[in-house]
Point group: C2
Chain length 341, copies 2
DNA sequence: GTGAAAGCGCTAACAC
DNA sequence: GTGTTAGCGCTTTCAC
């Protein structure tokens, strides 16, 4: 298994540095950490020895001794390669990184069991804080960690059975605005294509959709709701199927950007396309003239970071909930009139 | 600083579990780790005590003691919120995650100094391996870590001054194909919009561009090369400026997907657009009928993971270099004829 | 200014 | 099967 000969020396320890410098362990420690009360001569000797040996302090040992939590912040998301979460993670990392924290990420594939296992591992690693875009139905399993002082922040989806800091989009209002916008342009058969049914953002957006329709006295919408379009391909197929059905919708509300992209693929080359509004802005929405419910994705990461850092810094404040507003951006696709009445 | 009263109990240790279970520390350790040679009665007692206390083993301590490297794999990229790297990271995480490793990520913002600092921190954490999409001009600073047995894998950009496993796209060939494709459609004034000049992928793609033009005896291309279009907005502006210049190109080769998107924004609403081929495929390329140089992004992560795992598993093989091929996908934009001769 | 000893939480080595 | 002892690499006493 391991190389038979030529065994590697192993990382140099502080003890070796101290020995080479001819000082005690503690003095070496002081010098390496730039503490005061070290004569500059000693300092030089030690630093020189450390450089010679290529000394690199072992953080595991340091953090263990200090009993302190590590400078790692654990983040658990459904899928890191989803650009939405990647951007949120990027923004969060940027904020906490400037305070000396690192982000350690784990993807669950939207599997609650995987989530629990990954969270457990992060906790075993004594992460300084936990950031979750959770897929679990209940978060009571986090109560112990919470009590023991590990800050927990929920992003995008709220905690269930647990009080914790949370950053959410205004999903329901955003969806409602989108559908009202379509209604105001004369639509009454409005399709909804949504993400996995158990995800809270989907449920909220569905609620907003129903809100708008109910407020306008429109019923029969049940025939126009589709769920579980979790990837672009599925969204494309579902959209195509909906447009091919007996009495197709005259407008479609796609409940996230992947679904919007899937729907655009499905509507490609259609001579007369239904109206379309998508939740989430995306990079080519302008070029494609797609109306959307826009919001500030980076802000979710930044607000999450702020909550984490506040907890880490401080007292036992109340849990906070930040809501990020949404707004309609009209670009053409959402303003198309119904094709038939 | 710390809460004045009501001090938290601190995480329970194995010693406390052992005490509660009425066994020795080592027995508790064995039970918790599911080792053999523990009577099932003892096992039960210990596990019960651990559950009572909400015991969670401390990985820092375990890994320190075992002297083994942690089960963390460090990955350093320019920007995690860049979908390309997010997808690569996602694919890599998926592969190593199934073997019990976690990914710890850090973004450098394409700053070589930041990169070196972040790498140093990961090494201090004794990561099991290092995966780099590096922005540094030299990687000699990694030689020590390399010698000491930390596997290092380079993704997307090759190491300089260091021999290490590497996964690269066939940038030069891909770019050359793209430009040849444009030439075969009659273009002779072909613009190149590229990323930051110091990034190796940019340089390779530029080389491929020059290869194709030189092979066809086309010169004067220097007037059609633009660099440092690192984000969508910059790419848009640069493209717009190029199209507005005295003798604009009849075709454009955009050297990565962000640049392609920026260029599409710039070309929006143009009655007669120049031909366009972009490096990297993107989600809406079909809808927008954009011809691209496509490749398998997930594969880069997967191959990287394979290299990491092979190193971790094994002997002292030769360093390996994996090249991921590119292919032209014609969708219309790259087949437009020149507007004037 | 400097150093010796103890110990963070755990596991390896060796008893019994 | 179980327990004892030592020690991973570092920092924290507390002494000098």
């Amino acid at each position: 298994m391991s190389p038979p000969i030529d065994d590697e020396p192993g990382a140099p320890t502080l003890a070796e540095v101290a020995k080479l410098a001819g000082v005690s362990l503690k003095t070496a420690s002081r010098a390496v950490n730039g503490e005061r009360y070290v004569s500059s001569a000693t300092m030089d000797k030690v630093l020189h020895a450390a450089a010679m040996l290529g000394f690199r302090p072992n953080r595991l040992a340091r953090e263990l001794r200090q009993g302190s939590r590590s400078s790692l912040i654990g983040m658990v998301v459904g899928d890191l390669s989803n650009p939405f979460y990647a951007r949120v993670a990027g923004a969060l990392e940027k904020e906490v990184g400037s305070r000396g924290f690192h982000l350690i990420t784990a993807s669950t594939g939207e599997d609650p069991e995987a989530e629990q296992r990954l969270v457990e591992e992060l906790l075993e690693r004594r992460v300084a804080a936990l950031v979750l875009v959770s897929t679990s139905r209940s978060h009571r399993y986090l109560a112990a960690a919470d009590l023991r002082g590990t800050p927990i922040v929920f992003l995008d989806r709220p905690p269930v059975g647990l009080l914790a800091d949370t950053v959410l989009l205004d999903n329901r209002a955003g969806a409602r605005m989108a559908v009202e916008h379509l209604i105001s342009h004369g639509h009454r058969q409005i399709g909804l294509i949504g993400d996995l049914a158990h995800i809270s953002t989907h449920q909220e957006r569905l609620r907003g959709y129903v809100d708008a329709l109910t407020a306008s006295g429109i019923d029969g919408w049940e025939a126009y709701v589709r769920e579980d379009a979790h990837d672009i391909r599925t969204a494309k197929n579902i959209t195509a199927a909906m447009l091919a059905q007996g009495r197709p919708p005259t407008a479609i509300f796609t409940a996230n950007s992947r679904i919007t992209i899937g729907a655009l693929n499905a509507m490609n080359r259609l001579h007369r396309a239904p109206a379309l509004i998508g939740f989430d802005d995306f990079e080519l929405s302008e070029v494609l003239e797609v109306s959307v419910v826009a919001h500030d994705m980076e802000r979710m990461g930044a607000e999450g970071a702020a909550l984490v850092l506040a907890r880490l810094a401080g007292g036992a404040e109340e849990t906070r909930r930040v809501t990020i507003p949404c707004r309609i951006v009209a670009r053409g696709s959402g303003e198309r009139e119904p094709r038939w009445r």
